[in-house]
Amino acid sequence: MATYNVVFILLMVLLILTYYAYTIDLGNAYGISWNLVVALIIAVIKAAMVLMIFMHVRLNPKIVWVFALSSFLWLILMIAGFENDHVARGLDGTYAHDTFTSEAAAMVQAQ
């Protein structure tokens, strides 16, 4: 019971922390906003606490651990696939959203 109370209070603290991290600008690195990174890290911590203590994964046999985590692993694979394609398209120029409006619109109009 005590654990639950502690966890709940911790969640509240993290929630406030989330907002605080939002109010200050942490700047960017390689086009990735640190605010996003921090916000996601905090979110992951919150989620982990809910998973482990509230959802009792901690107390369950290993197989439940596997089930609970494998889906997130799959999700990461998917996101990695999408993002990698986006970045790579930027690199090898198969990707032209920005140039489209001007040049292509001119093409379309020329018809």
């Binding site: 799959w74 394609d85 790579a88």
Partner: protein, 550 residues
């Protein structure tokens, strides 16, 4: 086998079939065996709808101008064919029928873990099928089964949203089935049934279940986004507000590539059982075949991009997906080699199921190898979206998945119905299907190499010869698929009484009576040995014969 005289016992045993006769006892049953039978009936229905569409297409393609139907009708036909066959036949084909029937029997359980959920999955399937089917037949949809954006959301005519609703619902039937299999195989195994005493059929279905629960939700969400865009015009993929149609393809294939493993893996499981039984041997390299199923399921999730090499995906991503696609080819190769090696020094009995299994191995080999052409960047940029893709896909799906399904149906027919199918007709139909199939799809490899794009309602005249060959084959294959429909129904009444174990086969499902009693086993079986103990069975049979001779 033939060497064992079977003495039928005429004492009336209670079976899952004669336990109750009311309609209610079928429609509200929680017995996995009855649900399997319901599934068999419903997927057969959808199979013949999709098949009819295919026949119409092939007939239309006999002439370069495509004189039989209008262009739009043709587009609706191949959409009907694709949607019906993929979502309503191939996906549930083996898992929902043979899997539903056999998974509990093979692990020695009384039922699946969640019988109610199992029944729910059948209802979801039927409702989804009814919605999609009515949409496809009433209005028709001309997007193709891939629903590519932005055509499907903005430009297509027809009942796209309705069809998607149907597929969405049927998707959850697939999820619930997979969920049931995974949990059942984890928790319901009979005492002594360790993981490596499980028949390969179960390994295959476990892997299939993984794909079903991890892949299906993605396509469910993706298609519902398409539906939103079509109805409310708020589009995640809508290029006119900066949406990326290629992202749709990413999300679609993230499920739809693994989905082809949902179709082929259970078939591989079936083939493993049949090969073992009709060579009277253990499967060579049991562990390799078992793990290759899981490997295919896992790696299969990492190759979706090979459908998009020339679709605007980046070159680098293409290289990654190409490489992993080869890796997923290796487990398949391992399976094929092990099956073939199993025949070596076996006692090969060419019964109908065995014919289908051997057909599977040969056609799957060709289908798999031609898949490499499409996984190779350099050749895919020529073959992509041509008839080569169609030929490859059908070699794997029809030559693979459907062959396995037919083989499985014949192999377990005595267990399901308690009757034998007519052997001669069985072999004849198998032969007709094999010939018709190859005549239909082999020419399409050349059509594709010559550059004829898929989904063409009319084509330049120089492609006519090959198209006519293909159409001829299709008609033969059609006959081949109608034959079993008749003789299997015939066998229900006039087929020979099968007895509990007509093949003298290994595996728990053969230790119970056939048809099995409602609770599958009189007492909980206790497993004490590896699967495929055919050597022991044959030794006992020989002893029997000797005793009988005295």
């Amino acid at each position: 086998m033939a060497s064992i005289p079977y003495i039928p016992s005429y004492t009336r045993r209670e079976t899952y079939l004669n336990a109750a006769y009311s309609i209610k006892s079928w429609l509200l049953t929680k017995d996995h065996k009855r649900i399997a039978v319901l599934y068999i009936l419903s997927i057969t229905f959808f199979f013949f709808i999709g098949g009819a569409a295919a026949v119409m297409m092939r007939l239309n393609l006999m002439t370069p101008k495509g004189d039989l139907v209008l262009a739009e009708t043709y587009n609706k036909l191949f959409t009907t064919h694709g949607v019906m066959m993929v979502f309503f036949f191939l996906l549930p084909s083996i898992p929902a029928t043979l899997g539903n029937f056999l998974v509990p029997l093979m692990i020695g359980a009384r039922d699946l873990a969640f019988p109610r959920v199992n029944l729910l999955s059948w209802y979801l399937y039927v409702i989804g099928g009814a919605i999609a089917g009515s949409a496809l037949i009433a209005g028709g949809v001309d997007t193709g089964w891939t629903f590519y954006e932005p055509y499907s959301s903005t430009y297509a005519n027809g009942w796209v949203a309705t069809t998607i609703v149907g597929i969405f619902i049927a998707g959850f039937s697939s999820i619930t089935t997979g969920l049931n299999f995974i949990v059942t195989i984890h928790k319901m195994r009979a005492p002594g049934m360790t993981w490596f005493r499980m028949p390969l059929f179960l390994w295959a279905h476990y892997a299939t279940g993984l794909i079903m629960i991890l892949g299906t939700p993605v396509v469910a969400l993706t298609l519902s986004l398409v539906m939103l865009e079509r109805i409310f015009h708020i589009g995640v993929f809508d290029p006119s507000i900066g949406g990326d149609p290629v992202l749709f393809q990413h999300m679609f294939w993230f499920y739809s590539h693994p989905a082809v493993y949902i179709m082929i893996l259970p078939s591989m499981g079936v083939v493993s059982e049949i090969i073992a039984c009709f060579t009277r041997k253990q499967i060579v390299g049991y562990h390799f075949v078992a793990f290759s199923s899981v490997a295919i399921a896992v790696l299969g999730f990492l190759v979706w991009g090979h459908h998009m090499f020339v679709a605007g995906q980046s070159i680098y991503e293409g290289m990654i997906f190409s490489l992993i696609s080869y890796l997923v080819a290796i487990p398949s190769a391992i399976k094929v080699f092990n099956w073939t090696a199993t025949m070596y020094k076996g006692a090969v009995d060419l019964r109908t199921p065995m014919l289908y299994a051997l057909g599977f191995i040969g056609l799957f080999t060709l289908g798999g190898l031609t898949g490499l052409f499409l996984a190779t960047l350099g050749t895919d940029m020529h073959l992509h979206d041509t008839y080569f893709v169609i030929a490859h896909f059908h070699y794997v799906m029809v030559g693979g998945a459907v062959m396995g399904y037919m083989g499985g149906i014949h192999f377990w027919w005595p267990k399901i119905t308690g009757r034998m199918y007519p052997e001669w007709w069985g072999r004849f139909a198998a032969l007709v299907i094999f010939v018709g199939f190859n005549l239909t799809f082999f020419p399409q490899f050349f059509l594709g190499y010559l550059g004829l794009p898929r989904r063409y309602h009319a084509y330049p005249p120089e492609f006519q010869v090959l198209n006519v060959m293909s159409t001829a084959g299709a008609s033969i294959m059609g006959v081949g698929y109608i034959l079993p429909l008749f003789y299997l129904i015939w066998s229900l009444k006039w087929g020979a009484i099968a007895g509990d174990n007509p093949w003298n086969a290994a595996g728990l499902e053969w230790t119970t009576t056939s048809p099995p009693p409602p609770d599958n086993f009189a007492k909980v079986p206790i497993v004490t040995e590896e699967p495929y103990y055919y050597r022991r069975l044959d030794a006992e049979a020989a002893a029997h014969a000797a005793a009988a001779a005295k």
